[in-house]
């Protein structure tokens, strides 16, 4: 069982946090990841910034552009990941778009991920039809390639992702891009139930989840909750990270209720 798969336990719910590497600064990334780990995050997604993040809303777009301006690239992300691996035991996952990976070289990228302590990859513009090559290489390097499902996914696609996703299945809560939203989408419960019918893997829900109350509701349906844009906003608002710590603690509490 992979390090990612092993964190899912029948009794508890997983808390998954996303941060853009190098935003608002490289130092902030090195500081926030241990803080997230020690306050109850079970998996941490490290976003490698990309110039054209199609699946991201305004918050993560801005963070990505800002990080790119600071010169953050996949090489630097791998270096930082190596440092972070020394600091935390929490599973670390890279989230990035396919072009930076392709440009780096699929084999080389996965090899370097593996040796710097990355546990898995999420590539939102790589549906399973295009993922065969990366799937084989990640398997060889003992990395989980985590696929996504959306409310528009058909039964056939749900079956396909259920069979091929490793670690967990990432459920996109809404037809839309990432970004904090006021309420959970209508029909989320039905979507999760539809996926559950075909899928024995852990299901984690992300996109738009921004409050402990929403997290609690989501935990009632799924195995894990993914929070990103809201965290980034809090990192912007308060560089001391006190608000981030407070937010994560509240999320943890909401999930443990």
């Amino acid at each position: 069982m992979s390090r990612i798969a092993s964190i899912f336990k029948p009794a508890g719910k997983a808390l998954i946090a996303y941060v853009t590497v190098g935003y608002p600064s490289i130092e902030a990334t090195l500081e926030v990841v241990p803080l997230l780990a020690s306050n109850g995050c079970d998996i941490i997604e490290l976003g490698i910034p990309f110039s054209d993040p199609l699946a991201d809303g305004a918050t993560i777009q801005k963070a990505s552009f800002d990080a790119l301006k600071k010169g953050v690239d996949p090489k630097l992300c791998l270096e930082l990941d190596g440092k972070l691996r020394q600091m935390v035991d929490t599973p670390l996952v890279f989230m990035t778009y396919f072009n930076p990976v392709l440009s780096y070289g699929l084999e080389e990228f996965c090899r370097d991920c593996s040796s710097s302590g990355i546990d898995g990859l999420i590539v939102p513009d790589l549906p399973p039809e295009e993922g065969t090559a990366l799937e084989a290489i990640t398997k060889k390097q003992k990395l989980d390639l985590i696929y996504l499902l959306a409310p528009t996914s058909t039964e056939e696609r749900i079956r396909c992702v259920a069979e091929r996703s490793r670690g967990f299945v990432y459920l996109v809560s809404v037809t839309g891009v990432t970004g904090a939203r006021g309420s959970l989408p209508v029909g989320l419960e039905a979507f999760v139930a539809r996926v559950r019918g075909f899928c024995r893997q852990p299901l984690c829900i992300g996109f738009g989840i921004s409050t402990p109350e929403q997290a609690r509701q989501v935990a009632g349906m799924a195995d894990g909750v993914i929070v990103g844009s809201r965290l980034i906003q809090l990192m912007e608002a308060d560089r001391s990270l006190a608000q981030v710590r407070d937010f994560i603690k509240k999320l943890r509490k909401a999930l443990d209720q």
């Binding site: 054209d52 199609l54 777009q61 072009n99 930076p100 392709l102 440009s103 513009d125 549906p127 959306a150």
Partner: protein
């Protein structure tokens, strides 16, 4: 027949998009495959192409341009005379009819120079569809006339302020809208780029250019041309005129990209000439990118060519050697623009002005028996401000 059933032209194409969109692309592919074999659909497309768009567009023998160049005979396929002023109307009409067929009443589109936006706005007005156009802020500034035209035809024009504020960012923003509103919205993509089935579908709607041109040149000369020259941004006008000639191996197909301020400056928009293989906006193709795989900002005097990617079929044609691709600078394009104004009384758009420049240069090196056909993909009214500034023309 390319693409294959996964949307690949050799190594290029595919569907690199968020999961949310894959079912919509499946649905679109299926609807298009059904429409493709439906004679009623094509009858409607052809009738509107004739009565609304003004097809067939003429094939014009550019006598004085030919004499000026002193070599091969130059013929211009006059897409500039199509309704709304460019070849873009062909695809907008085809996809508009398809959207009606699949019951999607809200249309979104990206635009660079504004020609695709205007064509889409026109078709939406004519078919009674709601229309939202994404356009980079920088492009709205330099193509303001087209912004006004779109608004007059009832489209909502949304300014895109992210990234380089040009076509690339408008495409990204349109895709984000589509991810959000996919259930009731059709994305009317304007070029042979993007995920499958767009490169194939847009090509098929644009091949009307090449089919007409083939018949017209045969009627006129009783023979086919030696060269076909077209500008390439995303590549829709080029593929539209190339495609019906792909099997005529003796005909040289030449695509002209934008060399901007010069290839060596890095400020250009020539992915086929100076890029490397990557994935942008849902397809694998040649892309302008840095060493870390970030998409590079581009520059071209022509907003329609100012794009870091290119249609996957062009990448395939480049690798297979069936077509060749070269790049022409801003300055050269302006000189092509002036040349056509002076010799023929035609003001081309700055996009095909790139093709005109290359064709003129090429003609001079060929004999008078040879024939070059140029796709004059759009007219230049929209570019008057840019040209006035660049050439220092005083009213």
């Amino acid at each position: 027949m390319l693409p294959d059933n996964r949307g690949y032209f050799g190594d290029y194409g595919g569907r690199f998009v968020p999961e949310t969109l894959v079912p919509a692309l499946d649905e679109l592919t299926e609807a298009y495959e059904e429409a493709k074999v439906d004679t009623a659909f094509w009858a409607r497309f052809e009738a509107l192409s004739r009565d609304y768009s003004g097809r067939p567009t003429p094939l014009y023998r550019a006598q004085r341009l030919t004499e000026h160049c002193g070599g091969a005979q130059i013929f211009l396929k006059r897409e500039d005379l199509a309704h709304t002023g460019a070849h873009k109307i062909n695809n907008a009409l085809g996809q508009g009819l398809l959207a009606r067929r699949i019951g999607k009443r809200r249309i979104i589109a990206e635009t660079g120079a504004g020609q695709h936006g205007v064509a889409t706005a026109a078709v939406c007005a004519m078919l009674g569809l709601k229309c939202v156009i994404y356009m980079g802020e920088e492009d709205m500034r330099r193509q303001s006339l087209n912004v006004i035209r779109m608004k007059l035809m009832g489209a909502e024009v949304r300014a895109v302020s992210g990234g380089s504020r040009t076509l690339k960012d408008a495409v990204s923003e349109a895709i984000r809208d589509w991810v959000t509103n996919v259930r009731d919205t059709h994305y009317l993509l304007g070029s042979v780029v993007g995920p499958h089935p767009y490169p194939q579908m847009v090509r098929d709607f644009q091949t009307v250019i090449g089919k007409e041109a083939r018949q017209q040149i045969l009627d006129r000369l009783g023979r086919l041309p030696d060269y076909i020259v077209a500008c390439v941004g995303g590549g829709s006008n080029a593929i539209g005129i190339f495609y019906p000639f792909l099997d005529d191996k003796d005909i040289r197909l030449v695509g002209v990209e934008a060399a901007g301020r010069g290839l060596s400056t890095g400020q250009h928009a020539a992915p086929l000439v100076a890029g490397r293989v990557g994935v942008l906006h849902g397809a694998k193709s040649y892309v302008l990118q840095d060493s870390a795989g970030q998409i590079r900002e581009t520059h071209s005097i022509s907003a329609g060519l100012d794009y870091p990617g290119v249609g996957p079929e062009h990448s395939y044609l480049k690798d297979s050697g069936r077509a060749t691709y070269i790049a022409v600078s801003d300055e050269e394009a302006l000189s092509g623009f002036k040349l056509l104004c002076r010799t023929e009384g035609i003001t081309p758009a700055l996009e095909p002005a790139h093709a005109i420049f290359h064709a003129a240069r090429l003609a001079g090196s060929l004999s008078q028996e040879q024939v070059i056909m140029v796709n004059l993909s759009g007219r230049g009214d929209k570019d008057m401000d840019i040209v006035t500034e660049a050439l220092g023309v005083k009213p």
